[in-house]
């Protein structure tokens, strides 16, 4: 009994230290008497913690009560690889990301699904990666993931639905762009929801490179080797470009718009939107494929008329990501329907209150009162 209390105390202490929170601040944020002493006693296992206090502490620390009460020690948090590390609140953001992944994992497990990464793992030597590796990997992944001729249009959905990659959209504003993690919950990608859709697509493709090379180029190694990081990031960009703008489809699309060895600005913008990439990504790819020369490419990108056409087209094609991934909502709702996830927990998973739950579910076309048990015979 005392042993459990000591365990709870040390878990609270570890989680608090991870987010650099003082004992006094934790007490204050958790609605406990705001003295460092309160938390100090709890951390030493010298004070009983009421259930409501546990809930409040767990919420501040972004961990679950079951982790605090578990008889076995929870695994250490996995390493998160940032494309551009946020300057503010990084640890809190990481904890929220992990919490989302864990909840997603719970929904999967309650539905009897495995979260094992099904993404292909590519064994490459970090010392000898170059552009040809990027091209080879991109072609392989295009085929293995069945991405078709317009990969950006389907990449996120295929990653999530077919390859068990968890996707969390979070508004990171100007700070941070994307992050990747592989934990016991499987692979996951964090995408900045405030970015343009085509930029998000590029981030997805970039992060896929990290996921498939996660074992070959361990993220911790990247953290400690700046030179390697720069090279790997460059190759990840080349991979993303090759993946989203595959040689044949992009060449065909480009050439079919060329008349008398010229192509209209508006046609370039249209091709970018058709492939769901930014005009910058398209122009660089066309330069790389030598379909236009570098000087022309740079001139186009700095031309105000081209920029205006690009901007006008953006408004029409802009779409925001879902606040919560559809697959996660579907799994959580299925678990709820099957009597495996309580209604309050479902509301918590969907970031809403009990009374707003029906509204949130309707946004995803689910209705609690609906009878979803009607079946048909299969042949």
């Amino acid at each position: 009994m005392d042993n459990l209390r000591t365990l709870i105390g040390s878990r609270i202490k570890n989680a608090r230290k991870r987010i650099n929170l003082s004992q006094k601040e934790l007490a204050k944020q958790a609605g406990l008497p705001s003295y460092a002493e309160t938390i100090s006693k709890i951390e030493k296992g010298e004070r009983e913690v009421k259930a409501w206090e546990l809930v409040n502490i767990a919420r501040v620390l972004r961990i679950s009560i079951s982790e605090l009460l578990a008889s076995i020690e929870p695994k250490p948090l996995p390493f998160i690889l940032w494309r551009k590390e946020p300057k503010k609140d990084r640890i809190l953001l990481e904890n929220s990301f992990i919490q989302f992944c864990k909840r997603y994992h719970i929904a999967e497990r309650l539905c009897g699904m495995s979260s094992t990464s099904r993404l292909p793992k590519e064994s490459i030597d970090p010392k000898s990666i170059d552009d040809t590796v990027a091209l080879k990997l991109a072609n392989q992944i295009t085929n293995q993931l069945n991405l078709g001729s317009r990969p950006a249009k389907v990449l996120a959905k295929i990653l999530e639905e077919d390859w068990n990659v968890k996707i969390w959209y979070k508004d990171l504003g100007e700070q941070g762009s994307a992050a990747t993690v592989v934990g016991e919950f499987g692979p996951a990608i964090l995408i900045n929801s405030s970015e343009a859709p085509w930029r998000r697509n590029f981030s997805f493709a970039h992060e896929v490179f990290h996921l498939i090379t996660w074992d070959s180029i361990p993220p911790k190694k990247l953290q400690s080797d700046r030179e390697l990081t720069e090279e790997v990031e460059r190759i990840a960009e080349a991979f993303a470009s090759n993946l989203l703008l595959p040689f044949e489809p992009i060449t065909v699309a480009f050439k079919s718009s060329v008349k008398n060895k010229k192509i209209l600005y508006i046609d370039l913008v249209k091709i970018a939107r058709e492939f769901d990439v930014s005009t910058e990504a398209l122009i660089y790819r066309l330069c790389n494929l030598r379909l236009i020369d570098w000087k022309t490419g740079k001139d186009v990108l700095s031309n105000p008329r081209f920029r205006t056409l690009d901007k006008e087209s953006m408004h029409r094609h802009w779409r925001n990501p879902p606040p919560i991934p559809e697959r996660f909502v579907r799994l959580a709702f299925s678990a709820f329907q099957a009597g495996k996830l309580s209604r309050s927990r479902l509301a918590e998973f969907l970031n809403t209150s009990l009374i707003d739950l029906p509204k949130r579910l309707m946004e995803y076309e689910f209705n609690e009162q609906e009878d979803y048990e009607t079946e048909i015979n299969t042949s």
Binding site: L4, E48, W52, R343, S344, L354
Partner: protein
């Protein structure tokens, strides 16, 4: 003898039942007829608002105020009691149970809510009660209201048939060990 002690039925309420009671306008009648207790998490964290109809402006439920006035009482489980309950279930099952419901069941399991019946319309909570062998400590909202003369048309999840169905599933789980920890089977 105070009015509160005169009320013979002791009921431990889950958040969904409180919200439903407010929604259909019987809350005041209910607390006048039965001795209500709420788990601390439900009181402070879950049953916060209700809405008479979907889309209407939410109204506040102030349970702490009622607790302060002695109209209802608050029961608190400790960390150890919560731990004891969680250790009964396997890791996957317990993740589906909300802390508010877990606290109510932990209180029953720790004999800290003696004489109280737990009233909930939540599938997981109803099953959990049966899975720890405390089926008789649960009551559906329909039955509760009928016992105190407050019959109303309720949403399906608060009916006796719904309660019995999930209690039955929980009892099966108790027999098969499905959802229970290895040490409990």
């Amino acid at each position: 003898m105070s009015k509160r002690i005169m009320r013979l039925k002791l009921i431990l309420l889950d958040a969904d039942v409180i919200i439903e009671a407010y929604r259909i306008g019987i809350w005041l009648d209910l607390i006048g007829r039965v001795q209500i207790a709420v788990p601390s998490i439900v009181a402070h964290d879950e049953a916060l608002f209700y809405s008479e109809e979907e889309g209407r402006i939410p109204q506040q439920i102030n349970l702490p105020k009622l607790i302060q006035k002695g109209e209802i009482c608050e029961l608190m489980a400790s960390d150890i009691e919560m731990g004891d309950l969680y250790s009964k279930f396997d890791r996957v099952f317990v993740e589906g149970l909300h802390e508010g419901e877990a606290e109510a069941i932990a209180l029953i399991y720790a004999q800290k809510a003696e004489g109280y019946k737990f009233c909930t319309g939540d599938k997981v909570a109803i099953q959990s009660l049966a899975m720890i062998g405390y089926s008789s400590e649960g009551i559906s909202m329909e039955k509760l209201l009928s016992n105190v003369g407050l019959q109303k048309n309720l949403s399906h999840q608060f009916t006796e048939s719904y309660f019995k169905k999930w209690l039955g599933i929980g009892k099966k789980r108790l027999i098969t060990g499905n959802g229970l920890s290895k040490s409990s089977t």
